[in-house]
C-alpha cells in the first residue's frame, strides 16, 4: 500500500514539529513578569493648582462646603476629575469603572467639612497603571488639593500611609467620625491574587486639612 506512505510520514513529521514547537513554547514561558514599580515621588510632578485655598472657619454653624470636583497630588503627578460613588447592593463601596479616574464616596463628609472624607481610585487597569498607581509612595507632609464645585480649593497634608489586608480592614479607623477636616485616599496594593483577580491589601493615605 504505497499510497499510505505520504500520510504516515506526514503524521510523523507533523508530530515532531508539534513536539519541537510546544517544547520551545514551554521553555520560553518559564519566567514570570516582574511587578511594574512606580517611579519615585517627584518624577513627573505637577504644579499645585492655582486659585484661592480656602479653609472654612469652624464655628457653631459651619457653612456647608461645596461638593468636590477634582483632585491634584502634585508630587506623584495625579490630576483627576472626581466622580461620585455610593454603595453596592451588598453594602460595599462602589469603585469607578474606569481605572483612570478617582471618585468621592457621597456617604462621607465633603472634603474640607468636619469629618473623614473618602476618595478612592484604582492602582491599575488590566495592563496599565491606574490613577492611584503611585499612592503608596506618598509620605507624611506631602500635599493634596481638592477643588470644589464653587471654584474653591482645599489643601490637605498627608499624616500617615497605611497598608491593611482586606481581610482586616479597619472600618472604624477609616470611615468612623473624626472631629477635624480629614481626607482618606484608598487604593489597592500588596500581593495580587491571580485566583480571584484581586489585590489582597488596601493602601490608605490619611491627610488633614491645612488650617
Amino acid at each position: 500500500m504505497p499510497t499510505r506512505w505520504p500520510a504516515a510520514a506526514l503524521a510523523l513529521a507533523a508530530g515532531l514539529v508539534v513536539i519541537a514547537g510546544a517544547t520551545t513554547g514551554l521553555l520560553l514561558t518559564r519566567h514570570g513578569t516582574p511587578a511594574l514599580r512606580p517611579p519615585a515621588p517627584g518624577v513627573g510632578a505637577l504644579p499645585a493648582p492655582t486659585g484661592p485655598i480656602v479653609a472654612v472657619p469652624q464655628s457653631a454653624t459651619p457653612k456647608p462646603v461645596a461638593a468636590p470636583v477634582s483632585l491634584t497630588i502634585p508630587l506623584i503627578g495625579v490630576r483627576t476629575n472626581l466622580i461620585t460613588l455610593g454603595l453596592t447592593s451588598d453594602g460595599e463601596l462602589q469603585v469607578p469603572t474606569s481605572y483612570t479616574i478617582a471618585g468621592w464616596y457621597t456617604g462621607s463628609p465633603r472634603p474640607g467639612a468636619i469629618g473623614s472624607s473618602i476618595i478612592i481610585g484604582h492602582i491599575d487597569g488590566h495592563h496599565l497603571p491606574g490613577v492611584f498607581w503611585r499612592l503608596d509612595t506618598l509620605t507624611r507632609g506631602d500635599k493634596i488639593y481638592v477643588k470644589r464645585a464653587d471654584g474653591t480649593t482645599v489643601e490637605f497634608r498627608v499624616t500617615s500611609v497605611q497598608e491593611y489586608l482586606k481581610d482586616h480592614f479597619p472600618t472604624e479607623d477609616v470611615y468612623g467620625p473624626v472631629p477635624d477636616a480629614e481626607l482618606r485616599l484608598i487604593t489597592c496594593g500588596g500581593t495580587f491574587d491571580l485566583a480571584t483577580g484581586h489585590y489582597l491589601s488596601n493602601f490608605v493615605v490619611y491627610a488633614t486639612e491645612v488650617g
Partner: protein
C-alpha cells in the same frame, strides 16, 4: 538512599512553592490610626458670669504655651486642635493678663491617641472650674449621637427634647448629659425651664455618623441653644475594603505549563502513530 534524596527534593519543592504563593504577606505590619499617636483637644468658656479670659494650652512641663486663645468670651467653643498624645495642662487667665502671671485656674489633661476632649471653664464665677469632658468619636451604625451641656445660670434646671426624644429631663447648671443615639434627620430642639419660665427652640440637622453637642446658654433674652457638630464620618460605612485594581502592574508568575505539555503529548502521539504506520508499511512492502 534514593528515597531519602527524593524526599529531600520534594521538601525543597514544597518550601519553594510556599514562598511563591505569597505567604510573606502575613508578615506585613498593620497599624491603626491610634498608632499615629495623635488626639484632639478643644477649649471652651461656659461660665455665664465670668468675664472673657485668655486660655493657654501647655505640653506638660513646658512653660511655652502651644496654643493661646485670646479674649475667649462666654459661649465660645474653639475648633478641635490635633495634638500628640500625652499630658497637657490648660490654664485660664483674665483677658489681657501677662502670659507669665499666675493663672486664675489650671488643670491637667491626658490626651490618648485617637481620642477627643473638651476642656471647658464651667460653673458660676465664684465656683469656676475647668472640666475635662471625654468626647465620643464613634456612633452606632446609621445613627447620630447627641449630648447636652447645661451652661445657663438664669434657668438652672432645664429639660431638653429633640423632636419627641427626651435628651435630659432635669439637667442642672454646669452638668453634661450622657450621649444618646438618635435617628438622623432635621428636628427641633426644645429647651424649657419649667412652667412660666423661658423656652428656646432651634432646628438641627443630625446626619448619620455624626456626633453633636448641644450647649444651653443664657442669651440676651432668655435661653439660647447652640448645636455643635463635633465629629463626622460615613453614616453608612462601606463593608470591608475596596477592590481598586485589575492587576495590570502586578508581577505574574510563569503561566501554566499544562497546555504546552498537552501539545507535546499530542505531538508525541501523532508522531508515534505515523512512525508505527510507516514501519508497518515498510514491513508490508518488503513482505511482497
Amino acid at each position: 538512599m534514593k528515597i531519602s534524596r527524593l524526599t529531600r527534593r520534594l521538601l525543597m519543592l514544597l518550601a519553594a512553592s510556599a514562598l511563591l504563593l505569597g505567604i510573606p504577606a502575613a508578615a506585613t505590619a498593620f497599624a491603626s490610626s491610634a498608632t499615629m499617636g495623635t488626639g484632639w483637644i478643644r477649649l471652651a468658656h461656659l461660665s455665664p458670669n465670668t468675664p472673657a479670659v485668655d486660655v493657654y494650652l501647655y505640653s506638660f512641663g513646658n512653660s511655652n504655651a502651644m496654643i493661646v486663645l485670646h479674649h475667649v468670651a462666654y459661649g465660645t467653643v474653639s475648633p478641635y486642635e490635633s495634638v500628640q498624645a500625652g499630658d497637657y495642662s490648660v490654664a485660664m487667665r483674665a483677658a489681657g493678663a501677662s502670659a507669665t502671671s499666675q493663672p486664675v485656674l489650671s488643670t491637667s489633661v491626658t490626651i490618648a491617641a485617637g481620642h477627643a476632649y473638651t476642656v471647658a471653664g464651667m460653673g458660676p464665677e465664684s465656683g469656676l472650674r475647668l472640666q475635662v469632658l471625654d468626647d465620643k468619636l464613634t456612633t452606632p451604625s446609621g445613627q447620630a449621637l447627641v449630648r447636652v451641656i447645661q451652661a445657663s445660670l438664669k434657668d438652672q434646671v432645664v429639660k431638653v427634647t429633640l423632636g419627641s426624644t427626651v435628651l435630659a429631663s432635669s439637667l442642672k447648671f454646669a452638668n453634661v448629659s450622657a450621649y444618646q443615639p438618635v435617628s438622623p434627620g432635621t428636628v427641633t430642639v426644645t429647651v424649657s425651664a419649667g412652667a412660666g419660665a423661658g423656652e428656646a427652640n432651634s432646628s438641627v440637622t443630625l446626619a448619620a455618623g455624626t456626633v453633636h453637642t448641644l450647649v444651653v446658654l443664657d442669651g440676651a433674652n432668655g435661653l439660647e441653644v447652640v448645636s455643635l457638630e463635633d465629629a463626622s464620618g460615613s453614616g453608612e460605612p462601606p463593608l470591608g475594603g475596596v477592590s481598586t485594581g485589575f492587576g495590570g502592574t502586578a508581577g505574574h508568575g510563569p503561566g501554566s505549563p499544562v497546555p504546552w505539555l498537552a501539545a507535546i503529548g499530542a505531538g508525541g502521539l501523532l508522531a508515534l502513530t505515523g512512525g508505527l504506520r510507516l514501519r508497518r508499511n515498510r514491513q508490508l512492502s518488503t513482505g511482497i
